[in-house]
Amino acid sequence: MNDTMLDIKDLTIHYEVESGTVHAVEGLNLTLGRGESLGFVGETGAGKTTTALGIMRLIPNPPGKIKSGEIIFNGENLLDKSEAEMRKIRGEKIAMIFQDPMTSLNPVMTVDKQIAEMISLHKNVSHSEALKLAGDMLELVGIRRERMHDYPHQFSGGMKQRVVIAIALACDPELLIADEPTTALDVTIQAQVLELMKELKQKFSASMILITHDLGIVADICDKVAIMYAGRVVEYADKRSLYEHPIHPYTRGLFRSVPDIDEDVDELPVIPGLMPDPVNLPSGCAFHPRCSMAAEECRTSRPEMQEAEKGHFAACPFCVKKFMNGEAL
C-alpha cells in the first residue's frame, strides 16, 4: 500500500490520575489508506475515543499525555507539529464528528454561523460568502436553506447531527473521524444519517475512521475493521475476511454475544468476566484472564500482531497458527 494517508506507530497515551496511571492506549499500530473507511470497534473504555483525540492532538493535558509513538499523516508526524500548525490541520485536513449532537453545537448561535465559522477560519472568503457556503452545506446534508437562521434547539436529534456533519465537511477534509455518530439516534433516524454519510463519503472522497461499538454499522459502511481491546488493536482486516472468519478470541466472542435477528438461541454465549481495569492491566496478553484458550505464554509475553492471510492481522499467535493450519477455531 503505497498510498498511506495515516500511519500510527506504537502510540501510547496515558492519563495520570490519583489512583495511578490509566493506560488508555498502549502501543497501538494502525494504517489507513487514502479513500478507505475504517471501522474502529471496541467496548467502553477500550481507548477508541482517546485514539481519535490523540490523532487530533486534543487529549486534555493534564491529566492526559501522549507518551510515545508517531502519528504520520500525509508523511508528516503530527506529534512534531506546533499548536499553530495543528490549528490549521484541524477542521481543514482532519475533521471530527462527535457522538452527541446535543452537546457539540453552540446553543446560542444560529447554525449557519456555526458552519460559517469553520469556513472563515480556513478559507479566505468574505463573511457573506461564508454564510452563503454554509447554506449550501446545509442543503447538501438535507436541511432546507430557510432553516439556516435557526438555533440548534429548534432541530431534532437527527437534524442536529446533520448540522454537525455539515460543519465537519465544510472545508472538504481529507480525513473524517466520526465518533459514534449515530449512537444517540433512533434506528430509523440512524438509517437516514448513515445513508447520508455513505453518500457524502463518495462525493467528498474523504477517508474515514468510524468509531462504534455496533458491528452492524461497520458491516454497512466500512471497508476495513480494527477491533480494539484494552488500549491495543487485537485484530485488523478488511471487512469481508473479518466478518467471514474472525480470528482473535475476543473478536469471536464479540460476534457471538450479539443476539441474531434470524436465529433462536436459548442462551447467548458470553465472554466471562469484565474488561480489565486500565489502571491495572494484566501482564502479557490483556485478554488472557477471560480467554478460554489462555496458556502460560499468554500470561508472560505480550503477543504481537501477525498476518494470518493477506491483510488480515491478529494479536494471538495461537489462533493465527491454527488458522493457517486450517484448524477450526
Partner: protein
C-alpha cells in the same frame, strides 16, 4: 381473557403541556399471559416507557383499565383504581427495572442496604438473621459476589449495578416485572450476561415480563410476543417470529429494514423513512404514520385505523394490512 395475567383496556395517559394535550399513550389494549414476555418496541418519545409506568401505576393513567389477576386466581383487580392500602399490597407483586443503572440507585447506600431497602419498607422480616439470608440468596441469584455487599454503586461497573437493580426488584417475590431498557446502557458482552440472567430467572420463577427496548434484535431474543408502538399507539402486535418474517404495518417494515446487521451479503431493501416522528401534542384524528408512509392514501389521512386481527394472533393498525397479506 381467562388465561391472561394482566389485561390492559383502552389505557390512555395524557400530559397537559403549554401547547396542548400530549398524547403519550393513546387508547392501548392488550393482554399478557403468565410467564410470558411481551416486547415493547418503538423510537424515543413513542410512549413505551410511559406505558410501562402506567402498568404498575408509577404514573396515574388518564383513563382506561389495567387489570391484574388476583392472587387466588379468581377475578381481576384494576390497578388504576386501587386505594392506597390496596396499592401497597399490589406493589409487592409488580416491579420495575430501570434503564440507567447509574442514576436509579441511591449513591449513598451500599449494595447490602440497597437490596435490604424493599424488605425493610415492607416489614418482611422480623429477624435480622432471616433478612441476611434472604439478601445473600438474592445476591447469589443475580450473580453478585458476597464480598461486594459493602461496596457502593460508584465502585461497580454498569453490569453489576444493573444486577443490584434486578435484585431489588426481585426482593419481594413479584409476579410481574416491567423491564425498561434494562440493557441499553451496557456494552454487548455485559448485555449478553444480563439477558441470560433475566431469561434464567423467568424460567425458574415464572415471572411475567414487559421488556421495553428500542433494540430490535434484543427484543426478538427475549420476547414471546412483540408490540410495536408509534406515537402513543400500538400499530402492530404479534408472535415474535411472525413479526420479523411477515411485518404487516409499513412502520414495522421500515423499522426492521433499518436495523444494521452484523453480516455481509444480506440482500434487503432498506426503507428510509422521510422526516422525523411528528409531535404527540394534539395529534390529528387519522393514521398517525400517514405523513411518513409511502403507501398513504386519503383514507389514511382522514380515518384512524383500529388495531385489528389480520392473521391469527397477529394484529395491525393499518387500513391496508389485509390487502398486503393477500399479495
Amino acid at each position: 381473557m381467562s388465561d391472561e395475567y394482566i389485561r390492559v383496556e383502552n389505557l390512555k395517559k395524557y400530559f397537559a403541556t403549554k401547547r396542548g394535550m400530549l398524547h403519550a399513550v393513546d387508547d392501548v389494549s392488550f393482554g399478557i399471559k403468565r410467564g410470558e414476555t411481551l416486547g415493547l418496541v418503538g423510537e424515543s418519545g413513542c410512549g413505551k416507557s410511559t406505558l410501562g409506568r402506567c402498568l404498575i401505576r408509577l404514573l396515574d393513567s388518564t383513563s382506561g383499565k389495567v387489570l391484574l389477576r388476583n392472587d387466588d386466581g379468581n377475578g381481576y383487580t384494576d390497578i388504576t383504581k386501587a386505594s392506597p392500602k390496596e396499592m401497597k399490597a399490589l406493589r409487592k407483586r409488580v416491579q420495575i427495572v430501570f434503564q440507567d443503572p447509574y442514576s436509579c440507585l441511591n449513591p449513598r447506600l451500599s449494595v447490602w442496604e440497597l437490596i435490604a431497602e424493599p424488605l425493610i419498607v415492607n416489614n418482611i422480616y422480623s429477624s435480622k438473621n432471616e433478612m441476611r439470608k434472604r439478601i445473600r440468596s438474592l445476591m447469589d441469584t443475580v450473580g453478585l459476589a458476597e464480598r461486594l455487599e459493602n461496596s457502593y454503586p460508584h465502585e461497580l461497573d454498569g453490569g453489576r449495578r444493573q444486577r443490584i437493580g434486578i435484585a431489588r426488584s426481585l426482593a419481594l417475590n413479584p409476579e410481574f416485572i416491567v423491564l425498561d431498557e434494562p440493557v441499553s446502557a451496557l456494552d454487548v458482552c455485559i448485555q449478553a450476561q444480563i439477558l441470560n440472567l433475566l431469561n434464567a430467572l423467568q424460567k425458574e420463577y415464572k415471572y411475567t415480563y414487559v421488556f421495553i427496548s428500542h433494540n430490535l434484535s434484543v427484543v426478538r431474543h427475549v420476547s414471546d410476543r412483540i408490540a410495536v408502538m408509534y406515537l402513543g399507539q400500538i400499530v402492530e402486535l404479534s408472535e415474535y417470529k411472525e413479526l420479523f418474517d411477515k411485518p404487516l404495518h409499513p412502520y414495522t417494515q421500515a423499522l426492521l429494514s433499518a436495523i444494521p446487521l452484523a453480516k455481509l451479503d444480506v440482500k434487503r431493501e432498506r426503507i428510509i423513512l422521510e422526516g422525523d416522528v411528528p409531535s404527540p401534542i394534539e395529534p390529528p384524528n387519522a393514521c398517525r404514520f400517514a405523513g411518513r408512509c409511502r403507501y398513504a392514501t386519503d383514507k389514511c389521512r382522514s380515518v384512524p385505523p383500529a388495531l385489528t386481527e389480520v392473521l391469527t394472533g397477529h394484529y395491525a393498525a393499518c387500513h391496508y394490512a389485509k390487502e398486503n397479506v393477500k399479495q
